[in-house]
Subunit: 470 residues, 2 copies
């Protein structure tokens, strides 16, 4: 695209939205040229420049989002929605023709309904600020992704986020009651606030998990929970990951739903909780909360199952320690500077397959030349199965081979997961990183996703290159 056309587009947007809403200075473009993908950090470390977008638009209301999408659609300009840029799968990588839409100017709570326990909030509000506002009124969304301080509420919906308290309170699809968004042609659409309805297909799902490929989320309505009366942390040590997984399975089977259920393998337990773990034992952290009678019954029920399944109580200490450090997101740079490549990979499977999946994924990553650490923990459980959140750290022999090593670890994990019948993404989304495995992930149902995309975004302007394989 010749520069004068770029200039014309910038000017046209400034005319329509106000000059203060359209930026193309170097600093702003650089800040919006990537998300928190480990591979982007590695490439920068190796001196490779990110693409800079055409411009960054910062709307302050839904009408402006509509105006800019209508323009972009008419002009066939790619549009990349941007929350707080903390995605880890490369869902934000604009090219030089793209408009990046930073939604953080739309950051207000619009309605807090105490009687019916919901809150309407603009999509660009930061998660931590949002939760703090709710807490002031003695409420909580009970949605605690580790990224809560570096992500937006709209980003949670776009990526199908999961929080650390999901085992009781559900994932974002369970917490989301309604959504307002703008379709690529500029139409503003809003789903009815759903208590529950049998009025056709649930249209929230056009936006939920679409990673910006179907339009832009401008407002969400989320479930609230009153702050709990009591909270109890407790933990158990198990001789093996399999023994701990079996205890969780039985807890779920009996219908208990402690908000926090986290089982660390021996490597992670020894690293994170050295006071209670050596390098041979898996460690299970549990947290129950609610009215006292509910909490007491749940602690008793879950503790009995753990003991019956060979667990040894390790007290409240590990849960307190985890609570204190749970939102610490480590930076990649200090590892990359030492020639290490690393990432986390969250997948999920049914109970009958998850033990084998855990072992096979760890083994597959360890088989990649240069791998130093391959470990995992379970952190989101269901009656049917659980996730495993893997971590790998590798040091390629030749520092220039970092990208190849990184991609080899990912390929090893994805292929082992699919071989074991697991899903390739529990809650980080697909982005560009996992897109090539979506054919196997979705199988025959990929055609429905493609049909939906063609119907909603016939010109293909919304976040091209993400989620949906060619």
């Amino acid at each position: 695209m010749p520069d004068n056309t770029s200039a014309q587009h910038r000017q046209a947007l400034a005319t329509r939205l106000g000059a203060e809403r359209v930026s193309w200075d170097d600093g702003t473009l650089a800040e919006h040229s990537r998300d928190y993908w480990s591979l982007s950090a590695l490439r920068r470390m190796q001196g490779r420049q990110d693409n800079r977008p055409l411009c960054v638009v910062t709307p302050e209301n839904t009408a402006q989002v509509s105006t800019l999408l209508e323009y972009a659609n008419t002009q066939r300009i790619p549009v990349v929605p941007f929350g707080a840029g903390s995605g880890v799968c490369g869902a934000v990588l604009p090219d030089s023709r793209s408009i990046v839409v930073d939604l953080r100017g739309m950051n207000r709570i619009l309605e807090l309904n105490e009687n019916s326990l919901y809150v309407r909030v603009q999509a660009g509000m930061m998660g931590g600020v949002f939760e703090a506002e709710l807490n002031k009124a003695k409420y909580s969304a009970r949605h605690f992704p580790q990224s809560i301080d570096v992500s937006t509420v709209g980003g949670w919906v776009a990526t199908r986020a999961a929080g650390q308290y999901s085992t009781r309170y559900g994932n974002i699809e369970d917490i989301l009651l309604g959504v307002e968004g703008v379709l690529p042609d500029g139409r503003i659409v809003s789903t009815r606030l759903g208590v529950r309805s049998a009025a056709g297909p649930d249209l929230r799902h056009v936006f939920l998990g679409a990673e910006g490929t179907m339009g832009i989320i401008t407002e969400v309505t989320l479930r609230l929970v009153p702050l709990p009366e009591t909270t109890v942390g407790y933990s158990f040590s198990f001789a093996s990951m399999d023994a701990g997984l079996e205890a969780i399975r039985k807890i779920m089977r009996d219908g208990w739903r402690p908000p926090v259920v986290r089982l660390y393998d021996a490597i992670e337990a020894a690293r994170l909780f050295p006071d209670v773990s050596d390098t041979t034992n898996a460690l299970l952290l549990l947290l129950s909360e609610g009215p006292r009678g509910m909490t007491d019954a749940e602690v008793a029920g879950c503790s009995a199952i753990c003991t019956e399944n060979g667990g040894t109580s390790t007290g409240a200490g590990p849960v307190e320690r985890w609570s204190h450090e749970r939102n610490h997101v480590p930076g990649f740079d200090k590892f990359l500077e030492r020639g290490l490549v690393l990432d986390t990979i969250e997948v999920a499977s049914t109970w009958d397959r998850v033990g084998a999946m855990y072992r096979e994924v760890v083994a597959a990553m360890q088989n990649v030349p240069g791998t130093l650490i391959a470990s995992g923990h379970s952190s989101h459980s269901y009656a049917q199965g659980t996730n495993i959140y893997f971590t790998f750290v590798a040091k390629p022999e030749d520092p220039a081979g970092g990208e190849a090593t990184y991609l080899a670890c990912w390929a090893a994990a994805m292929e082992a997961t699919l071989r074991c019948g697991g899903t390739i993404a529990h809650h980080h989304g697909i982005g560009r990183l996992r897109r090539d495995w979506m054919k196997e992930e979705l199988g025959s149902s990929l055609e429905m996703l493609r049909a939906l995309k063609r119907a909603i975004d016939p010109n293909g302007i919304m976040n091209p290159g993400v989620l949906i394989p060619d």
Copy 2:
């Protein structure tokens, strides 16, 4: 369509599927010309004949469903999927060009996974037979629509059904883990069995609640629950519907989830439970189940809230009585023969609006000339709100005016519901009966439903006239 073309289509289908799979005798056509819509019964009573379809196809496997849809799509023949015909909103009303697809030949359990608590079953299995098979293995789907003995598992998904134990176990969208279906062009699609996944939009929702407008559901995977260790029924009388609703709201707010939570207004309580109710009190039925510790805590927690909110215990008797009679579906005919028209109407709203909605809908139906009874109960509760399941009985002055009176009662209820911010359908679906109110129900989001329909069924062969307003 000339008869020779009809004959050609029947012959073509018989050739492709086997003659034993295609029927057009009078009896079979008559059985498949309607569902359980009260208005269809009234019209028959008045001597108006239902349309007869072109033929009825009874596939025994998914490949045959694919073959017939591919043929119908090529020939532009309307297709009406048929479960057990117990829908109550007129979603089955074929015209003389239509192929009705009766799925009850696809009725086998394909996999029961005890470890991971799921069951794969063909869509045409009858609900009661399915649940009985699970019970033999000490499991349950915990999905108990009143229609369980006269509906299919695929029908539950197509209509977004709710069961009587939904307050703990959720509605069919919470119970459905995966779906196989056939798109209108014959493509067979299958979603991954979802523990939970962040791999794009949740494609189960293309079929969930689509009432046959997007394709034909051929197989579903549903959650299982082990049969509970303990069950406790208990009940409370309240001075008013509002007082009972407030008690339920507080139960939900504290996080208790008794499977059964049913609040009858004074009219229904006096009719159904005359031993504990007079005509002035609302009656709340509760049922808790699970491990003993969980049940004990829940009964204590819920009972305390009821007492604090003015409830008086009425013991286990009403719950036992309800349990005994809960699947009795009354026939319309004996009422119609007496010149009465009647129906049930289930809607839902948030807690802050549901009391007003209950009163306004009852008043609106009572205002229709000829109305004898207008009453309601709440039977599916959530932290954000609840449903109200209304009943009306009316006797038009002129017996020939039955249809007008019937439609006037429905219009009064729908308009009052929308005025109070409720959703027009909690769990019976839309069909033809409520289709005209879908514009107001969905508002701006209707365009997404239309786009989805065009994308999935561009020739419009799937159950035309249902769900989606013109």
